[in-house]
Amino acid sequence: MRAVRLSVVTAAATAAALAAVTGCAQKGDAKGGEADGVTVIAKDDSCEVSKTSFPAGHLKLNVENRGSKVTEVYVLYPDARIVTERENIGPGTKATVTAEIKAGDYEIACKPGMKGDGIKQKVTATAGKGAAAGPKRSPEMDAAVAAYRQYVQAQADETLPKVKTFTDAVRAGDVEAAKKAYADSRIGWERTEPVAESFGDIDPKVDVREDGLEAGQDPAKDWTGWHRLEKALWQDKKIGDREKQLADLLDKDLADWVKRVGKADITPTSMANGAKELLDEVATGKVTGEEERYSHTDLVDFKANVEGAQKSYELLKPVAQKNDPKLVAELDKQFAALNTLLDKYRTDKASYVFTSYDKVGKPERKELSDGVNALAEPLSKLAAAVVK
């Protein structure tokens, strides 16, 4: 560990920094190894950190829970992105949390009871003069990522009750009520699909289509999630015991998603490219009518994908505006154009009741596809405009 720290410090060009840091380390060693890292004393109403400034490199938190509740400890970027974490630290127990960190500002948070935002403490990882400053981060970008993280979490949180309306109807054996609640239950997922899909184990459980199964997988056993229920409702037109089990499973898998979504790795470029990926989803699954082949609710997904992309874009816009105002003007125009086009397929602009996609003719599908291309192509340039 010491070797690692030294190598980081060596990268700093000045002897002064070297002396300062090694001096600090020696002092720590003299204290009986405690400053081998940073001590965090977690209580029910406080989160004490032994020092708020430490060298970049290998960070070790020695956590002690002196409270009465189970707690968890996080190291966070300023945008609330998680660097590392440790859950389930019981009262009276100790735990260590480690991370490799670059120079910059961070927060250390304790979450007594494992609920809420936690008790936060600002800390700084220092590097010697001239050392790598870590990932390029501006306050604007951090704000954009933090706001998007909140959006993603809110979408997930708001989705659960809508899913429950759907799954309750399935459990009640009410085909019509289930059909009615189906598309609405997917909106939050579709708005944040690139993030949702980043949890590789959840996506195949909840959003796979029958043709997405692998050879050797049994559709009767291995096909789960929304589209399996979609087929039961629209094609088979009946709800059996298996469907009721699947409804329970969908609730469970999505609850897992809601719990984990806040920990997704989100950066300004992943936001920008995620926006483009949402349009890719539209281009490959929705415009073709493949996604919702039984319910034909593709335009609901389509709209949700566009909304999610637009949210990312709007949050990144202040940065993009500075770097590439022409691109921003083009994106504003194309988002507006695609939304106008989509509005042709719903009578009430406040609702998500869209024309059934099997009623959308070939020329109209091409028009939608052209609209997607018109937006997705400039959107693919957003990442470059953000990091420029």
Partner: protein, 433 residues
Amino acid sequence: MSEDTTTTATAEDTRVAGRPEGSAPSRRAVIGWGGAGLALGAAAAGGAVALARGREDDTAPVADTGSAVPFHGAHQAGIATAVQDRLHFASFDVKTTDRAELIQLLKDWTRAAERMTAGHEVGEGAYGGLPEAPPDDTGEALGLKPSRLTLTIGFGPSLFDGRFGLAGKRPAALVDLPKFPGDNLDAARSGGDLCVQACADDPQVAVHAIRNLARIGFGKVAVRWSQLGFGKTSSTTPDAQTPRNLFGFKDGTRNIAGTETDRLEKHVWVSGKDAQGPAAWLDGGSYLVARRIRMNIETWDRTPLAEQEDIFGRDKKEGAPVGKAKEHDEPFLKAMKPDSHVRLAHPDSNGGATILRRGYSFTDGTDGLGRLEAGLFFLAYQRDVRTGFIPVQTSLSRSDALNEYTQHVGSAIFAVPPGVRDKDDWWGRELFA
């Protein structure tokens, strides 16, 4: 012909001059240099031209050298240019209603076409840029020669509908084609505001060109339909063998050659009286008719040889007209059956109507009924469609014995503007002036 062969630089020469292998300029370097970098590239390319000039390019302009066809000239390349082996033809609808935006697109397309026909990548290239961003060029033509790529643009009648203030500039000869007997046109394979014809000896080079132009155009234009072609079915080089169509016959033997300046002036290039008034912008241009002609391959293949030869009016082996020995022997039309293809298509049967043919065979797999989805993608350039394609097709569609085996399923007409003169000029400048 318009192209000045002395300016033909080979692919390697221009590529080395413009962008040395292994020393691709970084994205930032290119941005930083701006216009200076471009100017330097142009000057260096000029030097390469001087070096490359000489032996080969003068004596064998159409050999399969993979060389670049000059983009600039009085006429657009890709019309009288020696016919390349492959085609990717695309028709576009203009989606924007903003005239300035359309003009900008035509400028952007012109600059991209200049680069691609010279064997260069579009924009800042296919690699070396920001890792988080898609590259400007799609990259599948990297390492391939220019392959005599030509890109030719045309403007359809619908472009003159008033959206862009061009209604008064529609030339009288840019007519809506009449309905010919037997036509079975699919609207999804017909028409278009703009077209780009990409011809090259390498199919990947032609496809790359259309793909990148479409990409640049997203939001401003959308591909309406496109067609791939292979096995040129006509030649603009008289000494070369006339290629055969998918029926196994030579056709278009008397096609206008790229070297026949007088016939090109007379039958292909718009000029003089017909380029006055609303059509003045078209001086040096031409008119293009594109027809997707489906061939009933299987029934043709079951037709007796004698009947096949009667239908065309030629023999199958040599391609000689009825009663003659050699393909290029002057046909004696009266010796042919009245409904034979050569007799009906011949200029002497159509008041002298002559067109420049640039057709390609196409095979788009099978048609779902187990039959070859194949035929001829017919491209005809002429000075005036009313005295070119229309009289010939009127006569053919009424009586041609070949009609039993063919059907026209796609159709489009375009006014083809004159050539791009230099680096400051752009496709359609005269039209939008």
